[in-house]
Amino acid sequence: MTNELTLDKKADTRRLDEMAQGLLGTPMDRPEGVLKVTGKAIYADEERPSNLAYGYLVRATGPIGRIVSTNKDEIAKMPGVVAVIEEADLPRNSVQGATPTAAPTRGDRIDYIGQPLALVVADGFEEARHAAQAMTAVMEADTGLHFDPEAPGASIETPEAKQASQGDLDAAMASAAFTLDEEYHTSSMHSAAMEPHATIAEWKDGKLTMRGAYQMLKFNQKSVSDALDLDLSQIRLLSPFVGGGFGSKLGIAPEAIAAALASKAVGRPVSVAMHRRQVFETTTHRSATKQKVRLAADKDGKLIGVGHDNLVYNLPGEKFSEPTTQATPFTYAGENRVIGHHIARLHRPAAGSVRAPGEAVGATVFEMAMDEMAEKLDLDPIEFRVRNIPDLDPSKGIPFSENRMEAVLRDGAERFGWKHTKPKQRLEDGWWIGTGVAAAVRVNMMSETSARVRLTQDGAVVETDMTDIGTGTYAILTQVAGELLGLPANRVETRLGDSDFPKAFGSGGSVGASSSGTAVYLACMELRQNIAAALGVEETDLTLKDGRAISGNVAKPLTEIVPGEGWSATGTVKGGKAGSLVRQATWGSCFAEVAVNAVTGETRVRRMLGSFAAGRILNEKTAKSQCIGGMTWGLGMALHEELVHDPRDGHMVNRDLAEYHVPANLDVPQIEAHLLMEDRDDWANPVQAKGIGELGISGTGAAVINAIYNACGVRIRSLPGTLDKILAELP
């Protein structure tokens, strides 16, 4: 049985609110939590099949150009070495997210320092690593390459489809009572997920099994098929547990294809785990941005003009470019608008999606500019924002599915104890203290996803190739099924991360929870029809609770209703017109209190509080964790994270976690995240839920930067706000 729904209109019922189990939305613990904390959850590189060989990627050290020759023959003779996989079809870098094709291949070229040159396979891991480190290439160097997007002569593309304009912004800027025209920079950043990318590949009877750390199995399987010229039926991907992805595992990474090639060549299972340094270089990272923001407001603080122009970069041949202005067209009012997008083609490692591509850097910078503008207007920055919440999407003229911007700003302000103050008012024990606010906004999307639910006398089993990358998928799908089928959580088993299961979009773009949640909803609604039919009642008259079906004065345990072989139903949801008839987004506010050392310029965040609305919340605990994690990322973007490229050859200089700083324990204060639990978005899907995984980083870092200004009067326009940038302006 299948139940398929294309989202063309607003949902007309809120069936989940009529259910009786009381499981959905609760802060239920993750069902797999005990496995994780006891080390029993098996991650990508933890299986040890017999006769396993180890592969280690060889780092191209430059110069960039054509590979003339390598010392492969010498390497092959080193102790323990089984094979040197040095083929033109080794991937150059990770595949971009949601892309069903292979990555560009190495060919005879090295396009960036750090690119995989080859894979050395050996009996032992250290033998493979040692031999890989000894491998070198003779190169014919390219000339005239560029490594800095702002260097003179850098090749800049300005694709027409990514520019937009309405009204006359220049005229608005000329006539407005108040204007802002500033340039901002954000740094290159990397997801730096805790688990490095790894794959164990094994061939058996012409079939390839890859156990790895992947976010989107449907696309990953197709990429493998394209890369290795295999039928999908020959490829099985297993990714039951993923130690964080944040975009870096959307597209399959070079180690996976290399492992598959190697396993075929040596006739043994092969494990390839990347070193942290390889993760930085060969998987995708977030492009640095240069952003120019123009704002024009009338004397009452109403925006009449909005300009957002940005420059990002990527390697030649990569289709992705950081969609910096993704939320700009609809976040704030203003009839005169210009969006500009420019892409520098550089020979730095490949850029790609990192948690909230677009808004993470675009909304953050815009929220920094909004704070500056509020000051020019002498307005409380919350009032300034509220005055500029548009009635309709000002770029498309379509309504919002719902706009909760004011609600989250007011809710956060009250909980935080927000009070608008002038800068440089509090100096305590040598620290300037200040507070700041920013809004968070992230587009909401939907993509085709299927899930199967089998109901037997023992309970329900949910199956989809959707992944849990630490986000809580196991928990929320268990809760959706348990709620609809009237089963406690311990009678629902959720199985994920196996490409043999029904296809989901995967974990990316904050689409996973709402899409797989809706697919499970649709499958369960079908099963409810079965139960109702068996009882001879209407489905809408059915109450399912604690394994019993109740209708009118009849109550029967499911064990007496469900046949021995059980029932199985598949739900499939597809994005439709609802995505274009209305503007769907998620909304948040973030407040920060910081202390800036009056002597050294060091900034420490004292507290952070956020308020978020994302439709129905499926699990209060995992949803809050997403927001807290996102706000921590915002803090890191504001103060710490800076992936440095050497100006001479573009290589990543600080490619380890000692020198690429993410906020660690002492840097992260108590963070409070509050959710508008009563929120429902009927346009989103019949579950009324939207994605929340990326909302927490989509603007929140600006609260920290704005708080720095409030504390010490120094405006940071280049992230991260390290002490050297503050020091220069301190008295």
Binding site: R59, H651, D656, T722, L727, A728
Partner: protein
């Protein structure tokens, strides 16, 4: 990682006998193992010294302390005698690394940790310290965390230790065992400046083993360790200042200062101390001290900010160390 031989020594004599060219002593391994994985260091032999019993802190007859080379950083920081008599050392230790690392890292190993220069860690980059004569990629590259004092045209690396900065301010001595017996070297003399041989970092001869650090009697006075860093957990010092100061009758009777994050070794400049000694504390005096300290300082681009940062931090530390001292 290159294959290596492993020897577990059961006595200092045995360890020293086994030491020499191509061999490295290993205790906590918190730095050496990372460097071996990257093949920045590739010893032929590792001599495990963890069973040598050098993990005691002993009080000396003169009131000083003898800190065994294998005393973990965490234990040293927590030792009540250290916290009472040499608090600057305890504070410096706790400002460094992370709890997990401090549990493993040892006193001797901490003194010998290698620079965190990005290019030293990158075997594809030229580095005179890693590969003498190959050049210095940091000089014209990204050098935010590197040195402004005591550097040379060949190397601008900094020594990353916090502990050593405190030991430097405390006039510590290093006890060294070699094939020819035991010797003691003042910490200030223990480290060598890079000059044109940045790969030679200390006066240790091949095979010599640090067995202890000797602290003179507790100096009294006010102890300050101020570390300025990019994040509050696990970051190396951009600049750190260790200060032990005694103020009597409104005058700085005695003061010692040492600096981290600025130089290839824990930095000490006696002229700065001499300038301060016997003077009444004042902002102008502190500024003058900073000027003397930084007279020869030279930035290399992305680390230029360390010079004003050091000036500000030193003035602030001197203010704190002499607070309420007016006659």
């Amino acid at each position: 990682m290159k294959s290596f031989d492993y020897i577990r020594a059961t006595s200092v004599a045995e360890a020293v006998q086994a030491g020499g060219t191509g061999a490295r002593y290993i205790a906590g391994g918190t730095n050496l193992l990372d460097l071996m994985k990257l093949e920045v260091m590739a010893p032929d032999t590792l001599i495990d010294i963890t069973r040598l019993g050098l993990d005691q802190i002993e009080e000396l007859d003169n009131g000083g302390l003898r800190i065994g080379a294998l005393v973990p950083n965490a234990d040293l920081a927590a030792d009540m005698r250290v916290r009472r008599g040499w608090p600057v050392l305890s504070r410096a230790l706790l400002a460094g690394a992370s709890g997990q690392l401090r549990n493993k890292a040892t006193t001797g190993g901490n003194l010998l940790q290698r620079t965190r220069c990005y290019y030293f860690y990158d075997t594809a980059a030229p580095c005179n310290k890693r590969e003498p004569g190959s050049g210095c990629a940091a000089m014209e590259g990204f050098n935010r965390i590197l040195g402004v004092l005591g550097t040379s045209d060949h190397c601008i690396a900094t020594h990353p230790s916090d502990m050593a900065v405190a030991m430097q301010v405390l006039d510590a001595e290093v006890e060294i065992e070699g094939k020819d017996g035991t010797r003691r070297v003042e910490l200030d003399e223990f480290y060598r400046l890079p000059g044109d041989t940045p790969h030679i970092e200390t006066v240790l001869a091949e095979g010599e083993l640090i067995t202890a650090v000797i602290l003179p009697p507790a100096p009294g006075g006010k102890h300050v360790y101020q570390k300025v860093r990019d994040r509050a957990s696990y970051a190396f010092a951009l600049v750190s200042v260790a200060c032990v100061a005694k103020v009597e009758g409104g005058v700085l009777e005695d003061i010692s200062l040492a600096f981290g994050g600025l130089a290839p070794k824990p930095w000490r400049n006696r002229a700065v101390e001499d300038l301060l000694k016997g003077q009444a504390p004042s902002e102008a005096l502190f500024e003058q001290a900073a000027e003397t300290l930084l007279a020869e300082a030279k930035g290399h681009g992305s680390n230029d900010f360390k010079i004003p940062l050091t000036r500000r931090t030193l003035v602030s530390v001197l203010g704190e160390a002499t607070k309420g001292a007016a006659a």
